[in-house]
Amino acid sequence: MTITIQRGEVVEVARGSQRRRAVPGMGLLDSLGVVWKHWRESFRQNRDFSDIHGTFTEQYPDERPNLPEAYRNMPILLFDDETGHEFCTSCFQCQRICPPQVIHMTQAKDTTTGKAVPSVAEFIIEYDACMSCGFCAEVCPFDAIKMDHHFELSTSDHASLTVHKQELNRPVSYYQSIAPTLWEEAKAGAYKKLQGNIKRRPDVIGIAPHLVDRIAARRAELAAAAAAAPPPPPTAPAAPPAAAPPAEARKLTPEEKAAKLAAIKAANTAKQSGATPAETPPAAAELSPAEAKAAKLAAIRAANTAKQAGTVPAAEVPPAPVDEKAAKLAAIRAANAAKQAGTAPAAEVPPAEPAPVDEKAAKLAAIRAANAAKKAAAEDNETERN
């Protein structure tokens, strides 16, 4: 019987040849030759894909496995290094797609109005039942959940495998270090969406919990500094040259850009109005002597903070979760802090307000700066009285 098939033929496999079998033991000798060759080569490390001899072994744990970027183990949540804002908006996509249904979350609510906020209050993944399918990372429209490379999860404490938001949170810089090209692809979109969501997150909602205190403190500090800080020109160059390059190398987020723009506009307005910005804040002229004194005091303090931010970054910045990155991060933060110290009045403008109306915005910024200075002065007075 012959069978014809397309593009190929049916071949009958050849069973052992008669000639060889006439000499018993030939096949065995052949086999021993192969085994001998492998044995001899087994003292050689060889990870060449085109070779079939030598040992292929990775000496784990002395040698860390070289994991590809796409490697997926367990999901983690990302937050932004600088603002502490989590990318997750609790859109429930990942919870819905998860095949074994191990993701659970609750949406954050505005404490004053009780309205839902695009942020997550609690996020739980049962690592013990997660099948590492990677669907959650795939569907997340905000690039908030990603697959980690960390695989040494074995523990005798079963309960610890129900992982909460606190332990799931990782800074973006960590994910960037394990999957640079994947993050490069996702980055722009992720940050764009995050900026949009931050606007709808009042107060400290959406900030990684372990950073809330630090960030709140830092914000207050910045606000105080900003209140009386002289306009940008003198403070911006105050950033030491060492810290400046990373700040420049880093792309500005849209928010920062807007802030910077508003600040420049405010400065221009001030210049136009005739005041010398380097010496007195434009609004300070109308202040009473006591207020002026307080404002001056605040200005000095702000300058000090800015200086500190520039010169002792490590002391100033909260320790970043990823150690190796900490130094670099601190430098970037310091530079930002210095910059923000100058631009903060504009940053205080609620982002919801339309920035592009130039003149109006500039004026507004100027008024705000004045008000903030006044407020700071009043506060200072209060402390003096106390």
Binding site: R7, G16, R21, S31, F49, S50, A70, P99, M131, C133
Partner: protein, 369 residues
């Protein structure tokens, strides 16, 4: 002849040579087997029932866990079933990527299966280690493309989840360079090895008509001399564009199945070379951008099958128009190939049982589901 009393013994379910938890109730007359009854179900995980609770996409990672050696092949069969049901077009490039992955799977499956077979014969782990060495390279490739070594979950409806990383093709080329040496060495090591021939020749014969009657498939069927290969009989994906042969055995014993697998590795390599040739010209991305993953197939049923390394793997799905399958059935090659075990073993010695079982190449995850 001296007549001895027949004895019923259990092999398994916990036995190192049963490839999982599998029990055989063996009736022996002395050393000779007079009857063998396979008992399945020790690894039952309710796979099909779970699948009916899940959405169509959610089942994709579950199919990985059927035949955990060949997750890529399982993915393909399942994805094909959905694509057929919903009518999703798969871009050319995605098809090539799929074929590439499944042929790599075939090589690693056979390298492993032959290693285990020899292991069952008592050659301990020598050949297994050599086979695993090659398998490791393929798993490295899988890991770099899909993110996981075994549970790849790489296929999506309308394509694959992401395109190849930049270093994939060069490494694959290197691997293919090593393949002929590996297969030749395997042949040199075993094909004429007197010990293997003693243990394999004329053992566990599955005659043609019996093979057909049991509807076995894959290397077991081809070992019995029937040139049936779904890739040829009903070309799916882009298999009609490749030249490759279908190796068949003549006797249908353990030795033939062994030789068929060796030859299939060579043919898979041939296909991979052609894939590499044609891939750069292939049109379309790695996935059809219009394909929805959240599918709701129209009411109806579908059967899609592929030639998985172990045989014909099919998915039968019934849709009631909702987002979840109404019925989900797997035609698992391991399971069906295992059913003639009793007939294959009758008349041979107890020591042959593990060899015959090894030559069928089963994965209990697929048998019991």
């Amino acid at each position: 002849m001296l007549k001895t009393e027949e004895l019923q013994i259990n092999i398994g379910p916990q036995h190192p040579s049963t490839h999982g938890v599998f029990r055989m109730i063996v009736t022996v007359d002395g050393e000779t087997i007079t009857d063998l009854k396979p008992v399945f179900g020790y690894l039952h995980r309710n796979h099909e029932q779970i699948a009916e609770q899940n959405t169509y996409l959610q089942n994709m990672p579950y199919t990985d866990r059927l035949d955990y050696f060949n997750s890529m092949a399982n993915n393909q069969a399942y994805a094909m079933a959905i694509e057929k049901m919903v009518g999703i077009e798969v871009p050319e490039r995605a098809e090539y990527l799929r074929v590439m992955m499944v042929e790599l799977t075939r090589i690693l499956n056979h390298a492993g299966a032959l290693g285990f077979l020899i292991n069952d014969m008592g050659m301990w782990q020598t050949q297994l280690a050599f086979g695993m060495r090659e398998r490791e390279k393929i798993l490295d490739l899988f890991e770099s493309a899909s993110g996981a070594r075994l549970m790849c979950n790489y296929f999506r409806f309308g394509g694959v989840v992401r395109d190849l990383p930049p270093d994939f093709i060069p490494r694959l080329k290197e691997l293919l360079q090593a393949m002929p040496a590996f297969v030749d060495e395997l042949e040199r090591l075993l094909r004429e090895n007197e010990i293997l021939m003693q243990r394999a020749e004329g053992i566990g014969i599955l005659p043609r008509d019996l093979a057909l009657a049991y509807s076995v498939s894959g290397p077991v069927l081809r070992g019995s001399g029937i040139p049936y290969d779904v890739r040829k009989a009903e070309p799916y994906s882009v298999y009609d564009r490749f030249d490759f042969d279908v190796p068949v055995g003549t006797v249908g014993d353990v030795y033939d199945r062994f030789l068929v697998r060796i030859e299939e590795m060579r043919q898979s390599r041939r296909i991979l070379e052609q894939v590499l040739e044609q891939l750069p010209d292939a049109q379309g991305g790695h996935i059809n951008p219009k394909a929805r993953q959240n599918v709701r197939p129209p009411v109806g049923d579908v059967y899609a099958r592929i030639e998985s390394p172990k045989g014909e793997l099919g998915f039968y799905l019934v849709s009631d128009g909702s987002g979840k399958p109404y019925r989900y059935k797997v035609r698992a090659p391991s399971f069906i190939n295992l059913t003639p075990l009793g007939d294959m073993c009758r008349g041979y010695k107890v020591a042959d049982v593990v060899v015959i079982l090894g030559s069928i190449d089963i994965v209990m995850g697929e048998v019991d589901r």
